[in-house]
């Protein structure tokens, strides 16, 4: 996976013969030696990463592959015999052609996540194209008009969960803004030995099945000792009355997942080499299906230089949270001739992915213990309100416990929030598929999220990120579209505005319009929301341009807005990127169409 960018540009085009050989090498490696490397003793060095594929012509073959991450052999979904799928390197300005052959027994597809491509090249079966039938080859061909780090994955059923995800790096036409001696993609993922169909069915049967961090009698006892019986009892009663679980952070946990870094288990320890004094660019991609990771490299400050492929004003942090499908490029400059651990713990602390930045192969640094298991706060319930006396909000009859207010640091932009008061809503409006509504959602752009608040480290927030170059479209939005992220944890239902995909109509965007999408997270889960085909330009507290993303993480109880330019004709997918939420119905079709009788914008 390592791209050594030392000495400037990568050799651009590989001749076809070299390419095929490279592919065969990768297959052999994974088919034989690679498997053993993965189950080798902790601290051993995995085999060399397969070479990236670069150029403008690509042949990709989707097939099953035997893998072994946990001691048990399972079948994964691979591209060219690799899990993760091979790194593709493109150049801005090129037209790329990708011939994708499906050798599975079921339909497949590849979606180029974050790429601005014509609708029929976007790779969502049923929306962009009919999918790739078993044995068939689909030819993707489109101009590459952007640069940065992206990724690609299957959009068919659970193939992304079983391995069909890979990194995508596009070299800028004018050269990299930040010169780095080393350049690595780091794709994080979650592997399960259990068939994803069964994982999904299990969540429907018992939604807390994978949560082994639930509150116990001992926890209540500890709370009483710490806060006194009255406060502890009131807090317990508040949650119990609402039938909400403050430990419900991730639906699927380390109880069934092995977290991978570039396809390596923590014990296989994926390793990236550096020499002291070099600048190392790490392109972090969350290619998981259901996991949020909190990433840090103890001993190193990371300078974030891009978010979702978009260059940002560099910002230095100790740690960042990366939502499913999000991408962050960071630069580190290790000063010492020693190994550093790249530590990516799951948001619920049930496990971690781990690798090493090392001056030599085979070295490793200490792995930090997981942080304390966080609990959702009142802010996460959308209840962080500033001294609002008044009648209790909808669900929280008689709730007291405002002491968790300080859990939401910053609390910026109250004026903006107040101006855009939530529209009147009720449970009868959303129906029985919605278990709660955020009474007073807040922007909280400077809130790093549950488990990262006041942890003593400098943690990245959306409020720290400013995309360079401003918005792609300076116009004020012509209209607002408000959508609520809704669900019912007990029944494991997920939806927008209480309606599953099957119960919804497509969202209509007028071709050429600039619109504002307001997302309100009424649920207790953090949702990464991905709009295909068009950028999501997040607004700051005063409505100013903040940052441009393809996947927008919305925290529980959060209300944020972004602007979209509907300049991409066609049908598009719009969904939560937690795979099981999407499958459960948290999906919308977006149609960008010319209005009848309207000309070019």
């Amino acid at each position: 996976m390592g791209i050594n960018a030392r000495g400037g540009a990568q050799p651009a085009r590989m001749c076809r013969r070299q390419f095929v050989q490279g592919m065969a090498g990768g297959t052999l490696l994974l088919g034989a030696g690679g498997l053993f490397a993965r189950t080798a003793a902790p601290g051993s060095t995995p085999g060399p990463m397969p070479a990236p594929l670069s150029g403008t012509q690509f042949d990709l073959s989707i097939d099953e592959l035997a893998v072994n991450y946990s001691g048990a052999q399972r079948l994964a979904t691979a591209v060219n015999g690799q899990v993760p799928a091979p790194l593709l390197r493109w150049r801005e300005g090129d037209v790329v052609t990708l011939r994708v052959t499906n050798r599975l027994r079921v339909h497949s597809s590849i979606h180029w996540h974050g790429m601005i491509v014509p609708a029929d090249m976007d790779g969502v079966p049923g929306v962009s194209f009919p999918g790739i039938a078993p044995g068939a080859t689909f030819v993707y061909r489109f101009p590459v008009t952007q640069h940065g780090t992206y990724w690609y994955h299957s959009h068919s059923r659970f193939q992304e969960q079983t391995g069909l995800y890979g990194p995508l790096v596009i070299e800028p036409r004018g050269g990299e803004r930040h010169r780095c001696e080393r350049d690595y993609t780091v794709i994080l993922s979650d592997w399960s030995d259990v068939d994803p169909e069964h994982v999904y069915a299990t969540l429907k049967r018992q939604s807390d099945y994978f949560n082994f961090h639930q509150r116990t009698v001992a926890d209540l006892h500890a709370d009483i000792a710490r806060q006194g019986a009255a406060a502890a009892g009131a807090n317990w009663a508040l949650w119990a009355r609402m039938r909400m679980d403050p430990t419900d952070l991730l639906d699927v946990s380390g109880a069934v997942y092995t977290y991978l870094m570039n396809g390596s288990t923590p014990s296989a320890n994926w390793t990236a080499l550096f020499s002291r004094g070099e600048r190392v660019r790490l392109r972090f991609i969350n290619g998981s299906s259901m996991s949020f990771f909190d990433v840090r490299i103890p001993g190193l400050t990371m300078t974030v230089i891009a978010a979702d492929g978009q260059d940002v004003e560099p910002v230095s942090v100790d740690e960042f949270r990366i939502g499913t499908a999000e991408v962050y490029d960071v630069v580190v400059a290790p000063a010492d001739d020693r190994p550093y651990t790249i530590f990516a713990q799951a948001m619920d602390r049930s496990g971690y992915a781990r690798g090493t930045l090392s001056p030599q192969p085979g070295m490793q640094a200490g792995v930090p213990p997981p942080d304390a298991r966080p609990l959702l706060s009142l802010a996460d319930m959308g209840m962080a309100m500033s001294g609002m006396p008044g009648p209790p909000a909808m669900d929280m009859a008689g709730m007291a416990g405002m002491e968790d207010m300080e859990d939401a640091p910053g609390m910026p932009g109250m004026s903006h929030d107040a101006a855009a008061a939530p529209r009147s809503r009720s449970h009868s409006h959303y129906g029985p598929g919605v278990d709660m509504l955020a009474a007073n959602p807040q922007l909280r752009l400077h809130d790093p999220g549950v488990g990262l608040r006041d942890n003593g480290r400098r943690v990245l927030t959306y409020g720290d990120l400013h995309t360079l170059g401003g918005a792609i479209d300076a116009r004020e939005p012509q209209r607002d579209m408000e959508l609520h992220l809704t669900g019912h944890m007990q029944r494991y239902l997920w939806s927008f505005d209480g309606r599953k995909f099957s119960e919804s109509r497509p969202l209509q965007f007028r071709y050429g319009e600039r619109l504002r999408i307001v997302l309100v997270n009424d649920s207790m889960m953090t949702h990464p929301i991905h709009l295909h085909g068009m950028w999501s330009e997040i607004e700051g507290a005063q409505g100013e341009f903040q940052l441009r993303k393809h996947t927008v993480t919305v925290q529980p109880g959060q209300r944020l807005s972004y602007r979209v330019s509907a300049d991409a004709l066609g049908r598009w997918a719009y969904h939560c990127h937690l795979l099981y939420h999407m499958e459960a119905g948290m999906f919308r079709e977006v149609v960008v169409a010319r209005e009848a009788g309207a000309g070019e914008p």
Binding site: P118, S156, D567, E583
Partner: protein, 291 residues
Amino acid sequence: MTLRAAASNARTSAAPRRRAASRGARLLAMLGLILAPMGALAAADDDPESSAAEHVAPAPPANTVPEMPYAQMASMMDMDDTGRLGRILVDQWEWRDEADRRGSGVWDAEGWYGGDYDKLWVRTEGDWPSAAAAQGRAELLWDRIVTRWWSLQGGARYDFGGGAGKGWAALGVQGLAPYWINVEATVYADDAGSLAARFKAETDLRFTQRLILQPELELNAYSRADRAREQGAGLSDVDAGLRLRYEIRRELAPYLGLAWLRRSGASAQLLRAAGALPDELQWLIGVRFWY
């Protein structure tokens, strides 16, 4: 850069030329006025710092997928939120140590199959003091979610053992009450006009992630006595249980427990007449499992 800003740039750059006051210069100035904004715009296009200039909208799709009904689309997408699933839960499969008998087996199980909103629901419970003498009930219900915590259930109940079988029509609610209490409340009617009611509540208290105490309370009431089933009119029986289970897996949990069974009113009299105790404390051991 906006058009207006570009035009004002053009004006300032054109101003010195006007001072030359020659016809040609004036012509050039006019030309400048026209060309400068175009040049400024071109410069903005080349400015690598401007996202507006860098962003390229995609071409319209050459091929489109036609609109289609949901079922067809779900099949093509391989993504269907209307899929149906099932679950079978044997909540109690236990042996109870009864004071006056040799003990008996007790079961309480349910199963469902369906989508997110509508399910076919089966419930059964009963006991078998000996292999030949099983006595209990089975219910077949339609379960429809009506509010966010409650569903409505309607269907039929059949009592078996203790003489001839007996059928009832059933209507009830099931759901999750505040404080995580699972509740079932059902009323029944037979064709002779008898009524019956059943109420059951249970919750889980976690000592650890796997060691879980389940308190449970079940009440049954009848409008008419049924001697064959030891049922008196009124509140017939109360069955309160405490079961401490250990989840080896979520799906498999052996347990130990205590049940307090009380027959009240007419039911108690019927039992006393038969020489049995109206209330009993029973030890029990069993296993809970589901799929």
